[in-house]
Symmetry: C2
Subunit: 659 residues, 2 copies
């Protein structure tokens, strides 16, 4: 078994080596002319400065928890926690650094051909995807190997990952939306200058936001989903299949990483010597290769290693359900409902908002039914282990699915640079084309994120009942019911905090941008430069100040509930948070997505196009949707899992001390 126990480390290392190779390949492309490099440099500097400030605050909390865990419960789990957090930070920082170097190279590549721009942007995203997947697997694999598969140490690692994820998502989400609102509300609406115009003081902050929110934030998010699902599957696997079950999730993910590498190579190969290309097809092609290979590998694993074909079915089910949720998400945020939504903008902002919320709420139904279906089937096939494995299946090819996610903001940034550097019009058109595909593929990525979050939350919940020796969680006990009720309230409170934070930070940003337009002489005529850095610094301060309270809520609530109503009530609370959190997350993500695309649909010239009454209404919808879909919505996914993992780590310690 020794070699199998090393699989996480080995395939993690293979992934890391491939990532380094890919990084060199991306960086060997030309970064474009001096002006482009200057702009890209400003984005890089801003993004790094934000991340470093964020990590400083984050590490104060990480170190406190590290010390507390160490002194109370020994250093093995505590060091695992530190490693989980640190590798997440490293993945986020490295992946984002490369992304900010790729944007200008993508713009430069797009001058040559669409295909070259696509290739560079995708490979930049793939660096992010592979970094996250490889480091996640390597770190957890290392803990697994060193501690002989000690569940408690692995839970510490997962908690580190979760904690960083929540901070990164909330902090990044506040930054990006505050900057976005500032840039749009004053620049586009009041001053009447186009998107990504260099005269807009918030334009650099806006581009920084795409990187710290959509690249680093999402990377940390999926790092924690990935780690959480492997951990929970391993912890449940050992209960039914002993050592084989414990190592199985690592093997599945190892196959997934290997397949993702092949998929990425195939993608690059398919573009060789091609000038024109359908970006959507090319991206899907790589994903299909990776998923197909993974399934073949898992089939082999089912027959020869576990000797149970149900493993194959469960992974297959996870993949299919993840993709279907993705397609449903795409339907609600890009197809017929969006066209109808855009039509309602003709009657004004209020009907558009009501219809958008109705779309978001309706869109919870099918994903929930699909998740339920996956849960029931996989439970019948392999018990609780099956549920966790379905989640692992959804995320197994993360290296390439996250690549496609991270590709979006890179293409978006490339467009911004093309605009700001006054490149020829056709370049911007090409980057817009790349960006548009990114929006669609991102929808599928969100589907995987939501589906896997729900399944992982379920698996983590099951792990919690095991580590606390709760054989039954009896809902007919009033403290459990109350736990569920209070748990159900938390995502609402959390979202409220996140949205308020965006509103407050945006308000300060709006004032600063207005001030610059008024006070800097010659700005509108393009004779003077705006002060980009003051906008970056405002967004940074706002985000950092406001990210702490909601994040701590997730850490302290399980502990608080344990002392007030006991460990069974904590279980009730986790269920309540999952139930209302999953709905709220889907609702917010899809309502926001639908408003965003309804606006774009109108901007394409439908219902009168830009500048009409309908367009103004659509801008209101888009602005309301921004904190929905990019701040509160995605952060709830992490909230759910962080609360579960904190409970798994902390409650057994508290039981030992106080019971």
């Amino acid at each position: 078994m020794l070699i199998l126990n090393l699989s996480g480390i080995i395939f993690g290392l293979i992934g890391i080596i491939f990532t380094v190779f890919l990084t060199f390949k991306v960086l060997e492309n030309s970064p474009g002319n001096e002006k482009m490099q200057k702009i890209s440099g400003a984005i890089q500097t801003g993004a790094r400065a934000f991340l470093i400030s964020e990590y400083k605050i984050l590490y104060i909390i990480v170190i406190i928890i590290f010390l507390l865990l160490g002194f109370i419960n020994g250093w093995q789990m505590s060091l695992s926690f530190l490693l989980g957090a640190t590798l997440s930070v490293a993945a986020g920082f490295f992946g984002m650094s490369i992304a900010t170097k790729t944007n200008t190279r993508t713009a430069q590549g797009a001058i040559e051909s669409l295909s070259k721009g696509l290739k560079i942007a995708f490979n930049g995203g793939a660096v992010m995807g592979m970094t996250v997947a490889s480091l996640g697997l390597f770190g957890l694999g290392l803990i697994y190997y060193l501690t002989n598969g000690d569940t408690i140490s692995m839970s510490g690692y997962a908690m580190g990952a979760s904690l960083v994820a929540l901070f990164a998502r909330v902090g990044g989400g506040i930054f990006t939306k505050a900057a976005d609102v500032g840039a749009d509300l004053v620049g586009k609406t009041e001053a009447g200058i186009p998107e990504d115009d260099p005269r807009n003081p918030a334009v650099i902050a806006d581009n920084v936001g795409d990187n710290v929110g959509d690249v680093a934030g999402m990377g940390a998010d999926l790092y924690e989903s990935f780690v959480g699902s492997i951990f929970s599957a391993s912890a449940l696997g050992v209960l039914t299949f002993k050592e084989k079950g414990a190592v199985l999730p690592f093997l599945v993910v190892s196959i997934g990483i290997f397949s993702a590498i092949i998929g990425i190579l195939f993608f690059n190969f398919s573009l060789k010597n091609k000038k024109d290309v359908d970006p959507s097809k090319a991206l899907h092609f790589g994903t299909y290769i990776a998923n197909g290979l993974t399934l073949i590998g898992v089939l082999f694993l089912s027959l020869s290693f576990l000797k149970n074909i149900n493993l194959f079915f469960v992974i297959f089910l996870g993949m299919i359900v993840g993709m279907t949720i993705g397609n449903i998400t795409e339907y609600y945020t890009a197809k017929t409902p969006v066209k109808n939504l855009a039509k309602s903008a003709v009657s004004g902002a209020a009907p558009l908002l009501i219809s958008g919320m109705a779309i978001g709420m309706e869109s919870t139904a099918i994903p929930v039914i699909l998740i339920s279906f996956a849960t029931i089937i996989s439970y019948n096939l392999l018990g609780l282990f099956g549920i966790a494995l379905a989640g692992v299946g959804m995320l197994s090819t993360l290296g390439i699915t996250l690549a496609i996610d991270a590709y979006g903001p890179i293409a978006d940034n490339a467009g911004g640079i093309a605009q700001m550097a006054n490149l020829e019009h056709y370049v911007r058109e090409r980057t817009d084309q790349l960006d548009a595909v990114g929006n669609t593929t991102a929808a599928i990525g969100k589907g995987f994120a939501i589906g896997s979050a729900a399944l992982t939350a379920l698996a983590l919940f099951a792990s919690y009942t095991k580590v606390t020796n709760l054989n039954v969680i009896d809902l007919s006990k009033s403290q459990v019911f109350i736990g569920a009720l209070i748990g159900g309230m938390l995502p609402f409170l959390f979202s409220s905090m996140a949205m308020k934070a965006v509103g407050d930070a945006a308000e300060i940003m709006v004032e600063e941008v207005r001030r610059q337009f008024k006070e800097i002489v010659g700005l509108m005529e393009g004779k003077a430069d705006p002060d980009y850095s003051s906008c970056v610094s405002i967004a940074t301060k706002g985000a950092l100040k406001k990210m702490i309270l909601p994040s701590l809520l997730a850490v302290f609530m399980p502990i608080f509930m344990f002392f007030i109503l006991g460990k069974e009530a904590v279980a009730g609370m986790l269920v309540g948070t999952t139930v209302s959190g999953v709905m709220l997350a889907i609702f917010m993500a899809n309502a926001g997505g639908a408003w965003d695309n309804a606006k774009k649909y109108i901007e394409e010239g439908n219902f009168g196009g830009k500048g009409t009454f309908a367009h103004k209404a659509a801008v209101v919808g888009d602005t309301v949707g921004d904190p929905f879909k990019d701040t509160a919505g995605p952060a709830i996914n992490i909230l759910i899992k962080l609360m579960s993992i904190v409970s798994i780590v902390v409650i057994p310690i508290l039981i030992k001390i106080f019971e």
Copy 2:
């Protein structure tokens, strides 16, 4: 015990007699001049026509269920169901008829003095309140007496009440908001004529909407809360305290009805020979009297009948928590948060909408904690029976609390009539003053409604576990968790349907009003009358068509879930629906309330007042909030309870047949 078993019947009858007396007292006031009578007559006709059409559709469904229940499970429960539904219909119809006769009398009274207007409006509302409480108690008391406290028959009665309530809330809610949006969007915004202007074709429909939604809809809503809480307390009481426990809720409510009568009389007495008066104080005075007397009566009951002082504490707790939730509601929808919200309107509609949603989401926290607190304490004092009794305590003085609720739309209507009949300016000022107080007191009423819904849902859930012999509802079973997840999704799907229905109906209404302004020559100059009835009929058709699907969802989901995943999953589903439903209901009600009052605050002249950019933004917020607070939000409260009661009634039958 015989006399005690008759208490429901006796005090129900006393209430009915008092109501008849009060009705004559209201009707003996002058209905004003011919024009006023004509307008009031048009509102009456429209409202009655709507209710009759609604009841026709409703009775098709009621009769089908009646026959099904009768043939499958015997006629005793089935007849109880029919009685529960019919008395609810009767209460709604009678109460609303009197309310529509009171509006013009209130306007006429306001000509004389503020105090006279207040007295008439309140007494009109009290007819509604007392009708609902008396008929509810009388009917359930009759079933209790005739069947010797048979829980199953009582559950049938409660199911009848719930079914009517959901239809009335959804149908009335769609009607009132479609009419409101039509009147506002075209009349006020596009044509630029004031509120309640007789030239607006939708003005009568708008006033009809207040009656069918806020009077009849709310009456049916509280009728079902009242009946549901008494039933669940009685069903749980018999398990611990035998016959004494079963009859106890009837006794508490009998005391409450008697106290409400005294409160109403005191209110009237306090206004005697007064011209000027503080309406808010006068209304609160009556409520305090009623609650105080009820507590004294309950104290007596605790010491001499149950010989357990905990009864007193539980009822007291229920009252206090209900009032506190009311005050919290008022805080979030009328105090500091609303002023800040109004300020955000200065930056535009998007910031206002984001902030309003943040307020709504935040406002879930304290009520949930209070409900949890009440649950834990009352459970510790009297077990599950205690939880149910706390809910009974909240609703015990329904006769007077609902009076204050129903008073609001009467005062609102009176204002409309004063405007349309061109009464002198000071009359409208007085009715506005009455209306403003109504808004505040309505907030407190909503607090009671939400608090009691949550506690009653909990008690009904407990009853469900008893009737299905589920000693444990184990959340660690995947089907129970899945049940909770799907249950949590339903309030979102339901709200989506309700909001879409409002949007669709409003769209048709907007077109019709636009058409009339365009086609009827001389309308704007006041030389020709608009066609009010076509607007009423559009709202009626829209509401009736769209109310069926969401209502049936509540009836069929428990049955569906039972067949797919079994009775324990049904329990999970009920919890999921309660958890996400309570949050969504509070969120929607308070966000809507906050937007409404932010608009009013701006209209009072703050941040520039009417016609400014901020005001336009606030109008958008108010319009979005309308279906939140008056359609989807309140209907969710009923959805939660209807699903529970359907489960209690139907699942045991299905178990008998299929297991």
